[in-house]
Subunit: 213 residues, 2 copies
């Protein structure tokens, strides 16, 4: 398997899931600015929107969309127990994956992170944050994970919460979310993935800086 | 089962899926402006963001997030064959459900439909439409449905494409998408659901018009 990723993008969650599963995978970096892969190929031929992650499973199978990939990894490596085993638990995990993807990732964070988004767009997105993070706060008030066990939904939520550091969203305002995020980043697979991708992220910033050859 | 819906919202897709499955369900209308249900209750006690659909399955189980509900319905009524039966087909269906939810529904259409979104926000969202609808166009160029059979992903995509009528997105620009949408609306379950919800939609507009008691 080959995972196309960009440092600290939502593909961080898939890297964590693969580490949790002990899965053999190669990781191919995609420059989010130029859309070139570290293999020297044009990533737009893999994903027409240039979005990471994409998981190349074998010669025939390419999967895109972070939440779909996360569920695939959980199902492919059942011994890692990265998803509930009962049908209702699976439905609830999918509900949370969708909530993170639609309400947090796309509604709140993408406009806050994108350079092409002007101040009115950023205000519109930021105004939507408190209600949505409030939902997560109430969910996490008395639990360690989103569901009754660690799942790939926690990996996705952590990836999204990581972005608050470069936005006006201060997680301290939601104490249970803040505690949860801090605690997840101490988990060995998360700490390893975060350390590796943070180093690559700073290299990416340097490479894409104006004036750099 | 009880489906909380608003006329022609994305909950339209779940209504279609329930009709396709021949499932017994009651439909409870939620006014998107006041968040009151037709039962006279406050919908914010069901869903803190006030978003439809929500599916009350029994006394213990409430599911939110359209794509999670659609997958639940497909699994609950396997004889209706609303999803592929093989694991890889299921992964691809989830990929498309996610693409529709994140790239079309939340990224493009919500800002175009919301009154609180100003002109800069609407321009930002509209600029994202061609690349995304182009992906769907290429996918549908030589096929009747998103996957090798009709699935709940088609119901979701149809619900989203319905909204183009009240936005500056002209589906004629993407001929395969336009043909697909027109063809789906002729399917009996879609035609029935669309007729019913259109009538309710006009009643809703009248009810919520300024000056109406």
């Amino acid at each position: 398997m080959k995972l196309y990723f960009s440092p600290l993008a939502c593909s961080f969650a898939t890297r964590v899931a693969l580490y949790e599963a002990g899965a053999a995978a190669t990781f191919v970096e995609v420059d989010p600015l130029t859309k070139q892969t570290e293999e020297g190929t044009d990533y737009l031929t893999v994903h027409p929107l240039g979005l990471v992650p994409a998981l190349l499973i074998d010669d025939r199978r390419l999967l895109t969309e972070n939440a779909a990939i996360l569920q695939f990894v959980a199902e492919e490596f059942p011994r890692a127990e990265l998803a509930p085993s009962d049908p209702w638990g699976k439905s609830l995990m999918l509900q949370w994956l969708l909530f993170i993807a639609t309400e947090l990732h796309k509604t709140v964070f993408v406009p806050l992170l994108e350079k092409i988004a002007g101040p009115e767009v950023k205000s519109y997105a930021l105004a939507k944050a408190p209600l949505r993070l409030g939902c997560v706060e109430r969910r996490l008030a008395d639990r360690e994970f989103l569901l009754d066990q660690f799942t790939v939904a926690d990996a996705y939520l952590c990836a999204v919460l990581n972005w608050s550091a470069v936005t006006p969203i201060h997680l301290e305002r939601w104490p249970s979310v803040h505690r949860y995020h801090t605690s997840l980043l101490r988990r060995p697979t998360f700490a390893r993935a975060f350390g590796e991708e943070r180093a690559l992220y700073f290299r990416e910033l340097e490479r894409d800086a104006p004036g750099h050859p």
